[in-house]
């Protein structure tokens, strides 16, 4: 944890309220996000119990699996979920704008500009917590290799038509969420913890109720008190603020859910054993009532979380968007458009495991995005920059002297020496490079030495034009207040890796002919 984060947490403890950790919003919030609050069944990975989903905070759609072990009911749930998610995703796929992309021409091997479509906006999924992101990934993984009847008439347990497609999209959302700074799939706890520092630990910040209690405590209560209540308060043995899921509270599972599911199972067995129409009608009534009860239980555990997610959205919308957020969102749009095109082109679902080249490319992209995100957040937000300054990675101050100087050589170029007075204590090594933002572009300078306590002398190196005299406005002037960073503002692209077909011997050679992925084999557990 950085020093400024520690200080903010200490302040939060002493004031009883979360402290801002950012002055602008560092992630895109869509005008119409799809909020998804899933619940899972204890003891069985990837068995959904129910969910609230939708784009309208006043009209969430409740989806419930009354018997989570029943594969047919689970498929029905997933089919219903695809009715919510896929039309939402599709609504962004149609509106496009023209864009350019550099591609390698397969014939000449040269880099050429190609006209392509770029979706004008992209969908956004918001889940309550990081565990929700993992659950989205797990659902995607469990669905994308399923076969529908059209794909495989022999499939023993065919999936409803659009379920594999939903699996591919959820996989894409889950994978994109691993890219630092991306906003296609967001966890509300992570969003809030990025923008506010609470007086509790990072682990406790994963509890949405407690986190919101710190940020926006009820009148007359401190954040600590409200957070404790959110975590522990119970009425009739049940948590007042149910966990944001997907896991449920064991007390709820044991005392309320298990009896309700048993009642449902009994009603179903009884209905199947009904001997005549009259009896069946009666027993159907009981089954419906049992199902109703489970619906109410699921709603009672998801609705509080649903409301909290929207409350979090309200809090975040009050912050102005950071200057570089749009640029990062554009990359999300490229990612969305790319996957849309792969689906349209009939490409197979994402493989189970990345090959060596794909894995290396993904890691390189994410490292680049991480470095870019850290730089952009600091440039967009004085509070974040203050943290970097406190860590010795940046310094701000006033220009007190500018002396014109020139480089040696045949064509001398301007290398003005700028003295900056600063109270910060940057970790400047000999000839360390520093950067400042000049019209949105980084101008680099080199540390030339100290002229006294707090007086840093810098030699400006570039962005001064081609002439002997620097262009107007390109050299700092006495009295300017500037902020220099020791980190670079922009990231260089990495080296090009070989194509997967040319994977070298050190990495196992080419992956070979891609075999179509088979669905997971059916095990005994699948047909309990």
């Amino acid at each position: 944890m950085s020093l400024i984060a520690t200080l903010a947490r200490l302040e939060a403890v002493s004031t009883g309220r979360a402290r801002p950790a950012a002055t602008v919003r560092h992630r895109r919030l869509s005008d119409r996000p799809l909020v998804f609050v899933p619940l899972t069944t204890a003891g069985e990975a990837g068995a959904p119990l129910g969910a609230l989903a939708g784009t309208d905070r006043d009209a969430p759609r409740l989806l419930v699996v009354p018997q989570p072990r029943d594969r047919d009911l689970r498929f029905a749930f997933l089919a219903e979920l695809s009715d919510v998610v896929l039309p939402y995703v599709d609504s962004y796929a149609e509106s496009v704008e023209a864009a350019e992309r550099t591609e390698t021409d397969p014939e000449t091997g040269k880099r050429v500009k190609v006209e392509v479509e770029l979706c004008a906006d992209a969908p956004q999924l918001i889940v309550p917590s990081h565990a929700g992101v993992e659950f989205v990934r797990l659902l995607g993984r469990s669905m994308r290799f399923r076969r529908t009847v059209e794909q495989d008439p022999e499939a023993p347990y065919p999936a409803p038509p659009r379920v594999p497609l939903l699996g591919r999209w959820l996989t894409h959302f889950g994978e994109r969420a691993r890219v630092p700074g991306s906003s296609l799939l967001l966890a509300m706890t992570e969003l809030l913890a990025r923008h506010w520092a609470t007086g509790q630990s990072g682990l406790e910040d994963q509890h949405l109720g407690a986190l919101l209690a710190w940020i926006d405590p009820p009148a007359g209560e401190t954040g600590a008190e409200a957070a404790l209540r959110a975590e522990l308060a119970r009425e009739e043995g049940q948590l007042v603020c149910p966990p944001a899921g997907p896991a449920t509270d064991p007390a709820f599972d044991n005392k309320l859910l298990a009896p309700a599911i048993e009642r449902y199972d009994r009603a179903r067995t009884a209905l199947a054993a009904a001997e005549d129409g009259l009896q069946a009608d009666d027993r159907l009534g009981e089954l419906t009532a049992a199902e109703r009860q489970i619906h109410d239980l699921v709603l009672s555990r998801t609705l509080p979380t649903w409301e909290k997610v929207w409350a979090g959205i309200d809090l975040l919308r009050a912050l102005p968007e950071g200057a570089h957020v749009e640029e990062r969102w554009t990359r999300d749009r490229w990612s969305f458009t790319g996957h849309r095109d792969r689906v349209l082109a009939g490409e197979p679902p994402q493989p189970r495991r990345d090959d060596a080249v794909t894995a290396a490319n993904k890691l390189a992209t994410r490292e680049r995005e991480q470095a870019r995100l850290e730089a952009q957040e600091a440039l967009d937000d004085p509070l974040v920059m203050a943290g970097r300054r406190l860590a010795g990675e940046a310094f701000a101050g006033e220009v007190v002297d500018v002396v014109m100087a020139y480089s040696e050589g045949k064509r001398p170029s301007p290398r003005p020496l700028v003295t900056v007075r600063t109270d910060d204590r940057p970790h400047l090594g000999e000839r360390a490079k520093v950067y400042r933002s000049l019209g949105g572009k980084p101008q680099s300078a080199e540390f030339a030495g100290y002229e006294g306590e707090g007086l840093v002398v810098l030699r400006i190196l570039d962005k001064m034009g081609r002439g002997k005299e620097p262009e107007a406005g390109s050299v700092p002037e006495t009295g300017d207040r500037l902020c220099f960073t020791l980190f670079e503002h922009e990231q260089r692209g990495g080296a090009k890796l070989p194509d997967p077909e040319e994977t070298p011997w050190t990495h196992g050679g080419p992956p070979g002919e891609a075999a179509p992925e088979t669905p997971d084999t059916v095990t005994e557990e699948d047909v309990l």
Binding site: R178, D355, V357, L363, E367, K496, P498, W505, T506
Partner: protein
């Protein structure tokens, strides 16, 4: 019955000969050499390069940092001033050591095409990754291969047919700045070390080990070997008494002076400050580090070793300070500047890898910490810090680290399919601390 006498020189020569034989005449595409600290890895690389060049095989050398590349070029030039060498460098400002400009046989360029035809071309892995060739090099040497990431090898492996991979498995593993759990357990996990991936796909490659550390004194080799290389032990090339550290100025009885004397006589010293939770840049510990360095310089140290029978003065360039974090290094630097000892090297473990000094002063990675994270427990970090010295190593540490270790057993999630590294940092830390406890001097600031 007496055990046959171990002659370090013979053992080392035998290992080197076997390595060179496999490299020059072996049938495998790769040869892996594990080298403990100071076992003559660079010497081996230079020798292999010269022999491959003699055999007329075009050679590319991949190192990890520009400093390592420049160092190799200089060593090659020292051994064979006739051999034309290509130094492929980046197009940044000051891309290479200006000492290379004095060597007429070294051709420097930012373009690989300018260097074609030279018997040896050397560059960093990052630069090689941008090179494309029609005809791959017959041979490559990959230096510091355990510090190279698998994805970085992926980018350059297409450039050569066969390669000699040399490195120290005990030093710091490469790292990624983002999570890479998603690929844990895959043979080609891009965040793993290049050697891990190489051996996972080519398990029958010959693996050699250099058995003798020429750097570490007889007082240090057994501890470093036990703590960090429990299954691949090595020996010191010198014996007790071959090296000696003496001081002209006697001790003034202070903590720093007493720990210096302890380290001079036994090879190790632990200067222990009272237990306390502190920020990373613990001002008292930083001051203690700076004071020890200042006293090392002031007391007119002289080092006797097998290299020079006459005592060599212990000057600022023969001392280094190692820390875990960059802000700690910065704090120590400014403390040293105040004491007029600014020319002593102060760096983090990552940057001290591969370097060698007479005396090192180390700020213990766990000193003053309330918790023991995976970063601070990493075996390689302590191994690097505890194995840079030819004479003595002095650790500065807050008391209570053993309790901290007991409070924080390793709890990293277990990933299926990954090779568990032994020893873990927890155990290695305990081994080192147990040994250091015998050389403890308490300091009450």
């Amino acid at each position: 019955m007496t055990a046959p006498a171990f002659d370090p020189g013979t053992a080392a020569t035998r290992a080197t000969d076997a390595i060179l034989h496999d490299t020059l005449y072996g049938t495998h595409r790769g040869v892996v050499v594990d080298s403990p600290p100071g076992a003559g890895k660079s010497t081996l690389v230079v020798r292999a390069a010269l022999e491959l060049a003699d055999a007329g095989r075009p050679l590319m050398v991949v190192a990890q940092t520009n400093a390592q590349v420049d160092d190799l070029v200089l060593r090659l030039a020292e051994k064979n001033p006739e051999l034309p060498v290509g130094r492929l460098h980046s197009s940044d400002a000051d891309p290479y050591d200006t000492a290379l400009d004095d060597l007429p046989q070294v051709r420097k360029s930012a373009k690989a095409a300018d260097l074609t035809g030279l018997p040896v071309v050397i560059s960093t892995a990052a630069k090689w990754a941008h090179v494309t060739v029609d005809e791959p090099w017959r041979h490559a040497i990959v230096d510091e291969a355990y510090q190279m990431r698998s994805d970085s090898l992926l980018a350059v492996a297409g450039l050569f047919e066969r390669a000699l991979f040399v490195g120290d498995p005990g030093q710091l593993d490469p790292f990624a700045i983002v999570g890479s759990e998603q690929w844990a357990g895959l043979s080609y996990d891009p965040s793993a070390s290049a050697v891990t991936t190489l051996l996972a796909h080519n398990p029958d490659l010959p693996q050699h080990r250099l058995p003798v550390s020429w750097r570490l004194p007889a007082s240090a080799a057994p501890l470093v070997s036990d703590a960090f290389y429990p299954y691949t032990p090595f020996r010191s090339g010198t014996d007790h008494g071959d090296r000696r550290l003496t001081f002209a100025v006697p001790s003034d009885g202070s903590g720093p002076d007493r720990v210096i004397d302890e380290a001079a006589s036994s090879g190790w010293g632990l200067l222990e400050l009272p237990a306390r939770h502190t920020p990373r840049t613990d001002p008292e510990a930083v001051r203690a580090v700076a004071t020890v360095v200042r006293r090392l310089l002031d007391r007119g140290g002289a080092a006797v070793s097998e290299r020079s029978p006459d005592p060599a003065p212990l000057t600022a360039d023969r001392i280094a300070v190692g820390t875990a974090h960059r802000d700690q290094a910065a704090a120590v630097r400014s403390a040293l500047a105040e004491l007029g000892a600014a020319d002593v090297t102060v760096d983090t473990a990552n940057r001290l890898q591969g370097r060698e000094y007479d005396v090192t002063v180390v700020l213990h990675p766990l000193s003053g910490r309330p918790d023991a994270t995976a970063f601070h427990l990493e075996t390689g970090r302590l191994c690097v810090l505890a194995s840079r010295h030819r004479q003595a190593c002095i650790m500065i540490c807050r008391a209570g680290v053993t309790d901290l270790l007991d409070d924080y057993p390793s709890t990293e999630p277990v990933q299926l399919g990954t090779v568990v590294k032994f020893p873990d940092g927890w155990e290695a830390n305990h081994t080192v601390l147990a040994h250091l406890a015998e050389h403890r001097v308490s300091l009450r600031p």
